[in-house]
Symmetry: D2
Subunit: 377 residues, 4 copies
Amino acid sequence: MAKPLRIGMIGYGFMGRAHSNGYKRVSDFFDLEYTPVLQAVAARDPAKAKEFADRWGYGRVESDWQKLVAAPDIDAIDICTPNNLHAEIAIEAAKHGKAILCEKPLSMDTSEGERMVAAIEKAGVPNMVWYNYRRIPAVTFAKQIIDSGQLGRIFHYRANFLQDWTISADLPQGGAGLWRLDAKAAGSGVTGDLLAHCIDTAIWLNGSVTDVTAMTETFVKERQHQLTGQREPVTIDDACSFLCHFQNGSLGLFESTRYARGHKALYTFEINGENMSLKWDLHDLHRLQVFDYKDAGNMRGWKSIHVTDGDHPYMDKWWVPGLAIGYEHSFVHQVADFLEAYAKKQPAHPTFRDALETQRVCDAVLLSGKSHQWVNV
Amino acid sequence: MAKPLRIGMIGYGFMGRAHSNGYKRVSDFFDLEYTPVLQAVAARDPAKAKEFADRWGYGRVESDWQKLVAAPDIDAIDICTPNNLHAEIAIEAAKHGKAILCEKPLSMDTSEGERMVAAIEKAGVPNMVWYNYRRIPAVTFAKQIIDSGQLGRIFHYRANFLQDWTISADLPQGGAGLWRLDAKAAGSGVTGDLLAHCIDTAIWLNGSVTDVTAMTETFVKERQHQLTGQREPVTIDDACSFLCHFQNGSLGLFESTRYARGHKALYTFEINGENMSLKWDLHDLHRLQVFDYKDAGNMRGWKSIHVTDGDHPYMDKWWVPGLAIGYEHSFVHQVADFLEAYAKKQPAHPTFRDALETQRVCDAVLLSGKSHQWVNV
Amino acid sequence: MAKPLRIGMIGYGFMGRAHSNGYKRVSDFFDLEYTPVLQAVAARDPAKAKEFADRWGYGRVESDWQKLVAAPDIDAIDICTPNNLHAEIAIEAAKHGKAILCEKPLSMDTSEGERMVAAIEKAGVPNMVWYNYRRIPAVTFAKQIIDSGQLGRIFHYRANFLQDWTISADLPQGGAGLWRLDAKAAGSGVTGDLLAHCIDTAIWLNGSVTDVTAMTETFVKERQHQLTGQREPVTIDDACSFLCHFQNGSLGLFESTRYARGHKALYTFEINGENMSLKWDLHDLHRLQVFDYKDAGNMRGWKSIHVTDGDHPYMDKWWVPGLAIGYEHSFVHQVADFLEAYAKKQPAHPTFRDALETQRVCDAVLLSGKSHQWVNV
Amino acid sequence: MAKPLRIGMIGYGFMGRAHSNGYKRVSDFFDLEYTPVLQAVAARDPAKAKEFADRWGYGRVESDWQKLVAAPDIDAIDICTPNNLHAEIAIEAAKHGKAILCEKPLSMDTSEGERMVAAIEKAGVPNMVWYNYRRIPAVTFAKQIIDSGQLGRIFHYRANFLQDWTISADLPQGGAGLWRLDAKAAGSGVTGDLLAHCIDTAIWLNGSVTDVTAMTETFVKERQHQLTGQREPVTIDDACSFLCHFQNGSLGLFESTRYARGHKALYTFEINGENMSLKWDLHDLHRLQVFDYKDAGNMRGWKSIHVTDGDHPYMDKWWVPGLAIGYEHSFVHQVADFLEAYAKKQPAHPTFRDALETQRVCDAVLLSGKSHQWVNV
């Protein structure tokens, strides 16, 4: 019988659902030493927390997160709150020796992230940040191919994350479902929300970023605040793009926005190596595009691999070749990997420390956006 | 609190997993009067049945399906056996007044299917056949668009289901995982396995088929039988295509094969109407291609709709626009629709009677393949 | 200096333009022993013939084709008339010892085609039929790959040619620009116009067709005739699809229609071999899709080759990699190949005899469409 | 009869062919007051010039460009030399009152370009720069749609031009066919060669660029020089990307490189407006992708318009819907537009002055690449 890992969930929003689904499903498909148990949930709104607990089968509702992180029947704390609460909760949970799984981005800024890393490393607790896109099978497969060395010298890495859901000036900011538009709760706009994903994947696939020059923009300058009812200045970045160098000498180009009409959640990346290039996007998440210069000259082209075979990452756990899985499975995979690392007492990536590097790049980007200077990471 | 619908599962193979997953997940995402309870499982191999029950959380294992269909604590029987057992089990389950969910194709042939329909209709039990592809959101969306009348007069319907997994002559036939190559267990080859899906969708979207001319082929004539160890003639159809007329005057063209190198599970359909055409395929299951003649002349083109918005079928239950779900969700949707129909005491489509029409077309196709004549359905 | 090949053109319609362009451009790009000279044009309407001659630089206009085929300053006759005149002109031109380039389809039917072949073979004149799609670089490249044997045993060949330009019942039939809707001028509808292309390519790539079963349809039963002004029955086939066997044991599936809303000129083919599959379509004519089973298992996928490199067929004559050529270039290539064969006194394919085989399949298809029986070719 | 426009061509390279083809073909397809006459060619290498003249039908070869620009039987000078000769020739040709068609980029740098503009404007001669991609039908169509105002407020413009032909360190620089790698002949690397196209289109479609921050890179630091035989430092930019603001408040992101393995000549652009977005790329040059927010909510998607209909720009001159034209036709269109403007004594765009604005942006980009500062245009 698998051993229980008792989860204390903080938050009940979109990510609370995605993580809970990951915990509930993992043992149906993966054979692991530990199995998650949905022990308790804590959240600001007790009625909503109750409803969430009932739906997902959490054993009980705690009235506040302080109680949850101190509860003796909890092994791991999952932080699904707005970003401005990550640090406080993580540091407190670390004091209680809990394993911590924190939503991305790690923190409001680098200095806060450093305090978090110090706390969890001092406490020596297992920790992980939910940069889930690493676990889309096609993305993991890209990592395997890159690590095999087949690409040769890398020249270019480019990524963007394009959305269009905040174009209307009538959309309010702040409050339930909309805290991502409120800099006080989110820290930043698209940089922490979208670019952070791109940067996490980029560092994972292509190594460290050394310096950046960025451009940020807020297209809609004022919005009604959902909580106060007042029109208030918008202080997040609606769009942010940057150029950079990687430590391996390759050039990077990143863009994110919520004003690219026609794109819902178009996260894409491409990496160009001397001998091979790879390309992926989230809208067709099962396909990895590969160009292999080793093919015979007249037979070269971009190959669209439908990453659904049994010898593709994670896919032996699911159905048969050709049959797709979806977005939510990236969380199942991350839970599985976390549990495996937990059992082996090894780090589960991305750790808080890994995520801190992404935070540093984000901060450099935001600073460059303000200073109009190249900024070293 | 939701009322329980206690499931008795027969079989533990690929479809047993897919259905079980549907039962387990539906209540996390859908608000329904009934919730499935995984009560018991029966299967030939008790050890495997036990392992399956443990993994999925079935309450107990029954030693044979006869006990299961008679058990008083079972509300619904799910038949996931090879095709040659569908009839016997369904008829027996109907006698015990159980609701019945039967894997497709309904039966080994039309006459067997007719006996099944007679039995369940006499017993008056809820019934459904698992033609799950109807519940892929993009396919259901196609149905909504067609039903709206926007296509105008229909001229053409074409579908194919292309696979390549049996090309090797070394692949044995029969036995666990390979009964689909054994006509005694499967009834037919690609016709019942693949074309049946295409025909079910076609009838649903475009109405009845009146007559067919077909071509069938068995490329590999002999294979070792997995159970006997002997080389035996292969009696299934490896490939089958047919032309047909629909009752609405449109022309149909269907093809299925397991010898189309490069296609894993490429189910595609296209329908051409006077004013609009639609196109879909299973490898990129979230996309519905639409051509709308009402667009301004120079602005016409095929539009790729990423069917992931809240106003697309079923998608309000899942994540946010742009984020994909997968193959398995079609079963969750079918469970949800079944439970809703069950609560309202309405038929859940496709019923056994619906599936019998597909069986009639399959039989006409197989007969035409042999007689080399046009055959009326 | 290149030697002249003096062209006598009959007809000034769409194909007259396409061929003339081929003749005029070939020597700018290909180094050949012969160069075409636009000597004279003959056509029914003298004013239009004059205008055509002026635009394209033909030396003179002949009042009728009889004079043209007899003219001593003409080396080659190009037949761009409606189909019902092909035979008469070709047979007469052969008598005068002219080389003959005839638009496809060769003839109104097989028996007429046989008379044509007999005439030109008796006369021993160079001859060719304008099945131009063989000379799209990606199609020629497909031929090279197939001939290399890389596909292994062939299982399937499928092709369709989908258009939508005759859906409106208000479109008249017959007369200038619309003779393709008039069976008296065209012989048949989509079978001779569209399927003939598919069949020519199929035979070229995959060998002979042995037997067929077909379905034909005329969706719009009556149309006003452009010349008589009367509503008359439509006697062409608006749509035609068929199943067939090839001599190599593979299965064929063909479809053509002018009622597939959304498709302008979508000629596509796909061939599935044991080890490799190929796919092409006319709307994206520079791309050849290739699936290679020899790729490493997890690296398999459909590769889109942009057939624009110097080592792709014909492409060394044009621009640089990545830069597209178009539809019209297939005619330039066919002229170049004809001139090269002409200089070497070798057959230029497809010859009249090659085209006669396509005619035989067309006739079998039309007969099967009427008899509702399988028909041997 | 059309009046002659007697062309004096300088250069016989890739662009000499592309332009000559444009001149020779235009009158077969377009009805214009003027028709180009290939009067004479001048180039450094007399043997090659002779060969070129013979192939394309130029009336004679001039021993040097100075004679050509002074020749009384020449109406228009076409400059197809390496970039470092543009200014000298154009200024001299202007003095002789010739119309001037100059290859892009206009000049080696802005100050040189200013002298050229001053000279041609003082002389009052017709002038044009060959930014040919404006005349790809899908690109012109994009311009028409943007000018119609349907996009609403513009938020983003992004473009890249990706190639991979200089990755090998063994490729020499300088000399015939390779002067684009030699800064002395080319002025810059990808900035003038590739980005200049992107910038020209961007300004045309989206207005002026106000300021930029750029990153340039030379991946291969030394190459053998083809003329000297010596290994010499490479001083061009192998890759260049930049961020910018447009005057209309939208954000720009541009990238070009010759080190993006897998991309032959992938020029792409995308523009995101409040109500509509457009997307195009050169590898599939006939397709314009359009997302229209005015479509019904659940029917929104990216539409792929095959820009081959008679009501698409230039396409009424060619074949029928669905049949592609290619790269070279953009030059035919540009010739046609030039001739039309010439007849009406109107400017033919892009004029030298238009091209100077592109030059200014290129210079700002190159400067920013060196200074690591934002630079105003």
